[in-house]
Amino acid sequence: MDRTQIKQALREFILRSVRVPALGDDEDLFESGIVNSLFAVRLMTFVEKTFAIEVAMEDLEIDNFRSLNATAGFVLRKNGVHAAAAD
């Protein structure tokens, strides 16, 4: 999956789970309140399952999950792909 496909999958999951009309690529998921404590772990599980990665303790950084772009970059890094190359 490339960055665009990852963002699309993330966007569809979030819009299916949370009542927001739209979601920009760089919209802050935490400051906007989209990702609350109830949703954070569900989103993480979706990321792990969909992109076949394991989120570990060292990955627990807000910057890895702050936006669609940030999460897509994190997924690509975990899969050993340079984000810039896939962009």
């Binding site: 404590s37 772990v41 993480m44 599980t45 303790m57």
Partner: protein, 381 residues
């Protein structure tokens, strides 16, 4: 996914029920009266690997799926929710550690938890906080030499009377944090809580931390993620186990009621021929089937690592614990006076069932969370 339970699950469930029939059922009433679990039964759980069913084999665990873990909770919950409570908190600590612990924490603690050489407990609830986890007042302060200094109190902590290690939640620089605190830590005192209505053998205690120091390396996960990521993994297993325990309790009430209704004579017939009694048993049996289906769905989703596993676990625990309360009340009603005596299983179930509705999140907390989830997921059009 295969329909649940599979033949392997069914065979393991029979094994668990046989264990319970020999080592739990004859003694559970005594444990309840004495308000303690004997070391021997905890050792028996450990010897069979029952305290580490979900821990990965690389750490000495069984590596069984959530369904199997649930069926073990069900088999023990049939006659002793206090004993299944040990499975609950053990899995909560172990799975939080397996997911978010450092390599050093995992290699030190998981083999001990898997074998039962160590019992874990979750120290989340506080005297003034109750269900409001964000109101954590326990303070973690950075001490000298890469150490953390803990101050605060925890209350209603299951298995704390005999636990060897606690996964403690508090705040570090205002951020929710979790850390492992061995029982022998200086500055930690454990005060047993007795005379609970139910769950009396589960070894509840209050914990008092007064400048209790542990290495900073004992932090589990990173500060800021304790309530959003660490606690939910623990609570997921807590809810699955509690839901299944409630189903076990419900099964006990159902089986006792059916047997009693068939054998108890009244007016030339049996109690079971009375329509009003049949109504109670019908509801019990249907709740048992529905609750088990919800539990299987939740465990299946957990095993498939599906995001909706969390809401399915909420639904399973919400439904099963409420159904257990109804069933226990009806089971006592069916038995009449004999059901009110302390020697009857259903009288203990009556007291224990209410606890199932409170631990790992009250019914009202579940309604709030599920209601919010359902509203958020409603799509226009």
């Amino acid at each position: 996914m295969q329909p649940l339970p599979t033949e392997v699950h069914k065979a393991r469930h029979e094994e668990f029920k046989a264990f319970a029939a020999v080592l739990v059922e004859p003694a559970a009433g005594e444990w309840d009266r004495e308000q303690r679990l004997p070391d021997a039964v905890l050792a028996a759980l450990g010897e069979r690997g029952y305290l580490g069913t979900t821990i990965a084999p690389e750490y000495g665990g069984r590596g069984w799926d959530a369904v199997t873990f649930g069926l073990l909770s069900e088999a023990l919950g049939r006659t002793s929710c206090a004993l299944s409570g040990v499975l609950t908190v053990q899995a909560m600590v172990a799975m939080a550690l397996q997911k978010w612990g450092s390599a050093a924490q995992r290699s030190r603690w998981l083999p001990l938890l898997a074998s039962g050489q160590a019992i874990g407990a979750i120290a989340l609830t506080e005297p003034g906080g109750g269900s409001d986890l964000h109101a954590l007042a326990t303070n973690f302060a950075a001490g000298a030499g890469e150490r953390l200094r803990l101050n605060g109190r925890k209350k209603w902590i299951s298995c704390a009377q005999f636990a060897d290690v606690f996964l403690v939640f508090g705040k570090l620089d205002g951020q929710p944090a979790a850390c492992l605190v061995p029982r022998d830590t200086a500055g930690l005192s454990v005060e047993p809580i007795t005379d609970l209505m139910g769950f009396r053998a589960a070894g509840l205690a209050e914990l008092d931390f007064r400048d209790a120091e542990v290495p900073a390396a004992n932090l589990v996960g990173k500060p800021g993620f304790a309530l959003s990521h660490v606690a939910p993994v623990a609570l997921q297993y807590g809810r699955l186990s509690t839901a299944w325990s409630a189903i076990g309790l419900l099964r006990g009430c159902f089986e006792e009621s059916v047997a009693y209704a068939a054998s108890r004579k009244i007016g030339g017939g049996s109690v079971g021929e009375l329509g009003m009694i049949r109504s109670l048993i019908a509801r019990m049996g249907t709740d048992l089937e529905a609750g088990a289906l919800l539990c299987h769905a939740a465990c299946g989703a957990q095993d498939e690592r599906l995001p909706d596993g969390f809401e399915k676990a909420l639904m399973a625990k919400y439904f099963a614990s409420r159904a257990a309360v109804r069933a226990a009340a009806d089971a006592v009603q069916i038995r009449g006076a004999s059901g009110c005596h302390g020697s009857s299983l259903v009288s203990r179930c009556y007291r224990d069932a209410k606890i199932m509705e409170i631990i790992e999140g009250t019914t009202q907390v579940h309604e709030d969370m599920l209601g919010r989830l359902f509203v958020e997921q409603r799509r226009d059009g």
